[in-house]
């Protein structure tokens, strides 16, 4: 007995841009010269590349990453030389359970994304929250990076 997947044709999804993004990520990583990418568990093309948004306002830079279904201890956040790196592994809990899998669309396994900060930030004040499967990292800007208003004096 199966669940028959039914999908309204008007709701048919876009081309999976995810795949292209992860391909580009892999190429970037290769060209960065790190051969660790070859030996990792993630396949060379394909694999999980969570979506990342970067915003900034006068006070801080915000990085939002979509990481549904993770435990916060499986998420690794590091900051070095102006580069924020978010990595981790989504483990399959159902390894030993019996049963049949009919459909497996969710990515599993390791992920690794890095983003360069647009301005200088204060590393000691970086905060991260994980809610509803979205990791939000707030990086307050360093004092010297905040734009200064220059007053014009009229004599």
């Amino acid at each position: 007995m199966n669940i028959i997947r039914y999908q309204d044709p008007e709701l048919a999804p876009w081309a999976p841009m995810n795949r292209l993004a992860s391909l580009r990520e892999e190429m970037n990583r290769l060209l960065d010269g790190s051969l660790a990418a070859f030996t990792g568990n993630v396949g060379l093309f394909g694999g999980w590349s969570p979506s990342m948004d970067v915003f900034q306002n006068k006070e801080s830079v915000f990085v939002k990453t979509e990481l549904p279904g993770m435990k916060k201890e499986d998420i690794d956040i590091t900051f070095q030389d102006g580069m924020l790196t978010i990595s981790g592994e989504r483990k399959q809990e159902s390894e030993a359970r019996e049963g049949e899998t009919y459909r497996s669309e969710r990515y599993m396994g390791k992920f690794h994304r890095s983003v360069a900060m647009p301005t200088k930030v204060e590393p000691d004040q970086i905060k991260a929250t994980y809610k509803d499967g979205i990791l939000t990292v707030e990086l307050p800007k360093a004092a010297e990076a905040k734009a200064k208003q220059i007053e014009v004096k009229v004599s």
Binding site: I3, Q7, D53, F55, K64, E100, R103, S104, R106, G133
Partner: protein
């Protein structure tokens, strides 16, 4: 020139107002007496989920509740739409006993198989 610019602005506006549904990725497993369905919908909290069953069709809608931080966008990859996906359920599923749980953007649905389909002995009357 001015007319051309206005037309393209207007169509850009309509495009952003059109509701574009995202298709959440799903995992479907069968385990013992039930089917387990997992749907990934980051940015949706428990209050934003609507699960409805009608005539053996299961529809799940997830409304995103994450707010955008105030500020300019430096880089955007996420798609902003709400999630929607529908499944046609096999008759072996007892739709009155469907259970749902939401954890960190993943909806876990348990769809138990109907009791009546398990083999039963029928007593013969005189």
């Amino acid at each position: 020139m001015k007319t051309v610019a206005t037309t393209s602005e207007r169509s850009a506006e309509t495009a952003s107002r059109m509701p574009a549904w995202e298709l959440p990725p799903a995992n479907i497993r069968e385990e013992g007496d039930a089917y387990l369905l997992e749907l990934e919908m980051p940015g949706v909290s428990k209050s934003g989920i609507e699960v409805t069953v009608e005539n053996n069709e299961l529809t799940i809608v997830g409304h995103r509740s994450d707010t955008e931080p105030q500020g300019e966008v430096v880089h955007r990859e996420s798609r902003r739409g709400d999630y929607r996906r529908a499944f046609e359920l096999d008759l072996s599923i007892d739709t009155t006993k469907i259970a749902a749980k939401m954890e960190q953007g993943v909806l876990h649905l348990t769809l138990p198989k109907a009791e009546s389909l398990k083999p039963r002995k029928i007593a013969v009357g005189d």
